[in-house]
């Protein structure tokens, strides 16, 4: 049974961990780009 939980944990950590990493990467990309653009090019502000 504990072996089954190992597979379950691996799957959850893999999906949620990689999703968090991708989200942080996207946010950081956005912040880096925003520093090089004036506010009028970011209409969502």
């Amino acid at each position: 049974m504990s072996g089954q939980w190992g597979y379950v944990t691996a799957a959850y950590v893999m999906v949620l961990g990689s999703m968090a990493a991708y989200a942080v990467w996207t946010i950081r990309r956005g912040r880096r780009l925003a520093r090089r653009l004036p506010a009028e090019d970011r209409r969502w502000l």
């Binding site: 072996g3 597979y7 990689s18 999703m19 989200a23 946010i27 956005g30 520093r35 653009l37 969502w44």
Partner: protein, 274 residues
């Protein structure tokens, strides 16, 4: 890193709305959506790992049925993401609008990420259920092909060329890649497959109770996550496009200035010193 807010025009909104971190791709709506998504993730963990029972069916999946609350929603939202790319590609070819081009691009990148997660969770489950990480099964192979096709789509977007030509090439590539999505879906019906056939996308779902609820909750939560990622990824793509335009403008201005500076020399008759 600190930004000189007095000299930097980009930092202007922070002064207009004191106390609000407005730099980057975030907005009030995206923050609310992000919080709702995080709450949904917490609920999914609660139902998926604690409240939902282990598989009572004859498949002997036991606790590993919980992997399905990640694997199935991620796979279906990946299909949705590629569907949005296909719609964006069609709309771009029709309207030639930057909005649709960037929508297609943003959704494809998220779709690639979700497809990789689908394959990884499927491999983890396969190691338990089939005793191997990978088999060249119809569903697995067509899904791997889908990943490669959309990686190709992202590569096509990075090929050099005029922006309009690049977008048109990408739209055509996106539509070609999308052809694999229905093939992945029907692969378990068309070919003999180790992968189980559809469990939920039929009129008489083969699971019920908390198992079905957890699966549906996963669908909703990953749909919200996709929406949140789309907002931010689209804004990143929009800023990249604006920066590219600005770079082109600067390069054109530099060429013009250079041409003007060298024009009197070029107009001088041959053999006569200016």
């Amino acid at each position: 890193m600190t930004i000189d807010t007095a000299a930097d025009p980009v930092a202007e909104p922070r002064r207009r709305f004191p106390g609000v971190r407005s730099e980057g791709t975030g907005s009030r709506g995206s923050r609310v959506l992000g919080l709702v998504t995080l709450a949904g993730m917490a609920a999914l963990l609660l139902f998926g790992l604690v409240l939902s029972p282990q598989d009572p069916g004859p498949n002997e999946m036991g606790q590993t049925v919980r992997i399905m609350y990640m694997h199935v929603p991620v796979a279906i939202i990946a299909f949705l993401a590629f569907g949005v790319t296909a719609v964006g590609s069609i709309m771009y070819l029709w309207k030639r609008s930057e909005f649709w081009d960037l929508t297609a691009a943003a959704s494809a990148e998220i779709g690639v990420f979700l497809t990789a997660a689908t394959l990884a969770t499927g491999m983890i489950w396969g190691k338990f259920a089939w005793g191997t990480w990978w088999v060249w099964d119809a569903r697995l192979t067509t899904t791997a092909l889908l990943l490669v096709l959309f990686l190709g789509y992202l590569a096509v977007r990075r090929l050099p060329g005029p922006p309009e030509q690049r977008s048109k090439r990408a739209a055509i590539a996106g539509l070609i890649a999308f052809v694999d999505v229905p093939i992945v879906h029907y692969s378990v019906d068309w070919w003999r497959s180790l992968h189980q056939p559809a469990t939920v996308s039929r009129f008489d779902p083969q699971i019920d109770g908390l198992l079905l609820f957890s699966l549906m909750l996963g669908m909703v939560v990953f749909l919200l996550a996709y929406w949140w990622l789309m907002i931010h990824r689209f804004r990143v793509a929009l800023m990249e496009s604006r920066l590219e335009e600005r770079g082109l403008d600067v390069a054109l201005a530099a060429r013009r200035a250079e041409a003007e500076a060298t024009a009197p020399v070029a107009a001088t008759p041959a053999g006569v010193r200016p």
